[in-house]
Symmetry: C2
Subunit: 421 residues, 2 copies
Amino acid sequence: MPSRSEISYFGAGPAPLPTSVLERAASVLLNYENQGIGICEISHRSAAATKILEDAKSALAQLYDIPADYEILFLQGGGSGEFSAVVYNLVARWVEKRRLRIVAELGEGKDAEVLDKLKTAVRDELRLDYLVTGSWSLKASQEAARLVGKDQVNVAVDARKANDGKFGKIPSEAEWKPSSRPAFTYFCDNETVDGVEFPAFPSVLEGAGDDTPVVADMSSNFISRAVDVKKYGVIFGGAQKNVGNAGVTIVIVKKSLLTPMAAPTLLQSLSLPVGPVVFDWPTIAKNNSLYNTLPIFDVWVAGQVMQSLLDTYGAQKIAGQEKVANQKAELLYGVLDAHPAVYRVVPDKAARSRMNICFRVHGGDDAREKEFLAAAEKRGLTGLKGHRSVGGMRASNYNAVSLEAAQKLAQFLQDFAAGSA
Amino acid sequence: MPSRSEISYFGAGPAPLPTSVLERAASVLLNYENQGIGICEISHRSAAATKILEDAKSALAQLYDIPADYEILFLQGGGSGEFSAVVYNLVARWVEKRRLRIVAELGEGKDAEVLDKLKTAVRDELRLDYLVTGSWSLKASQEAARLVGKDQVNVAVDARKANDGKFGKIPSEAEWKPSSRPAFTYFCDNETVDGVEFPAFPSVLEGAGDDTPVVADMSSNFISRAVDVKKYGVIFGGAQKNVGNAGVTIVIVKKSLLTPMAAPTLLQSLSLPVGPVVFDWPTIAKNNSLYNTLPIFDVWVAGQVMQSLLDTYGAQKIAGQEKVANQKAELLYGVLDAHPAVYRVVPDKAARSRMNICFRVHGGDDAREKEFLAAAEKRGLTGLKGHRSVGGMRASNYNAVSLEAAQKLAQFLQDFAAGSA
């Protein structure tokens, strides 16, 4: 019957949350701010709920220094939901902008001609660029192809190609094949399954403006390092790794990308998909994320986690968390690298994730890896099994994994390699 | 600083949850089944999570006597998400079935001809029937029109027409104008905003088979009365009224409606919408609701609430809960009806919701209604304000509102009418 303090959990998500936040959560479940009802029971339209939402937005805005021309949205549907939402929203915007240009060229009242030209433009010019560097960006690109057709999706780089069909490195930017003016360029900043993280913002995407915005899935490295939000059109992430509970998704989107939007009837005429209203960013923004019932408890947890980073790191803000994350990752990679006869880190050194540390034990020998997991568990180190699609080990190093937990794991890695675990 | 026992909350959703469930929830948040990590932290793919999911499904199947040829799905996105999902899924199925019939008539290899005939069929035959009896079915019908075009949506009845432009009654079935073979007929079993509930399954829809399935939104009267699931193709509900937390949506769908499904490319050619993969029921069913990260805590709460009904009512199952719900509703309507000089129940007597009791005080006089709310609050009776779109009072009588709470409210209604509140 282990207590929380006896267990160090390294699962990839849902992931550990700060015990102090969970203790407060347990209390507000029953009675929120002495209202006599709990946080899951209060109305999402109450003043208390609005304050929870505003506090969470404010904490995130402070952590990331989010400029005023960005919206912070809370939605349901997870990262996978946003794979679709990105396409629905940014394609609708591309179409409407293109239509307005055609109308400006042809003049008003030539609807049939406009539609014809627009069809040609969609076929010849509409391109969605994806940098496929792991399982999640692959899934996102597949969803885009399902929604708009594969001819419109340009896989600007597939990291498996130069790597024996496996993910694990980020090809150099010189090898990428971007479209000339994509509706957006999409990448997954940290690939949870494959342990691959972009070391920095891609330099070829520097200066991409509103016409070719950059979209990043940061589900698994959200609020773990400084981000220059201005470089992105859209940043999104499911909350269930660094931020909070499964069930809420955060989208940071530049306001100028929320308009203009093509009408559903126009999209249908162009054989382009119309998304569900709950994924329509302009609608969600206009309703301050309360178009429909928002899981306020999950927003509260996210807000508490973000506020606790602000409290812990003070003026350093996200840079303080980044330093700790790096320190823990360096510690663990250091031990793994020090024992090459026992451990092999899976991804390329230049693309190693600070969040998901993927490695094999004794060349991936099944019996030895099981032995490793069993020995780890005896020391209260759990959640180390890799994703079912790739096997091996994965130590997730999210914000709520303490330095102490990382040190325990490092000690175990050392002992196991020395045969004394 | 009121405690839970001092407050009786009548909010329309999120709504009260049983204190015993919340107490257990507070404990499992920190440590689930002695794993040393909490329920929001465990993997959605762990054995523990699978058991939570199976237990919740099993409890619901028992409560409703759900036949084996139905699937129970858990999704994100709320009832509003399902407004869209219903359309995406059932239109894709209608199209594929229609295509197969055309291919059977024409023979293989005539793709262009098939597409032409299918376009005509979509235009002339594809109809989605909506019974619009309140704000939520209206919204669902509007979403359908946005997704597939308004010509395809047949509002078989608009309850406002025979009622001064306001919701509040259910017109007699003789007045409905159903399509001959709709892709589906949709209704909202209980209209939360307007206090209107179908007294029983509509008799004109009896015997509707797989070709013209019946879809019901039961978000706000879920597990509050017996339902003959066999009569429905789809039943769905957001959990945040009778079942649990905002953040999880339950869909009960007949397995035969999950196949065949038109390919996205075909839907695009027909100017029909392609939904997000997270709303694709066949994908969710195939993955046992774990296509992407499911908020397992919310599933656990729902499972606990449903199991507690089974424990409380034993062999009576849902009929036991129905009896109590009716008893509470009769008590409250009884007091309101007994004081016609002070109270006016808004909806028609034949369509009164057992779940959301909507009434006006002193003819809707603003000052008197505020006085009513303030006096109620003094007695610890909260959440009585009606929906912002219609005003007035609304006492929601969900499962977790105890008989004692209903009695307190009844006493207050009496005292206020007598001028002694």
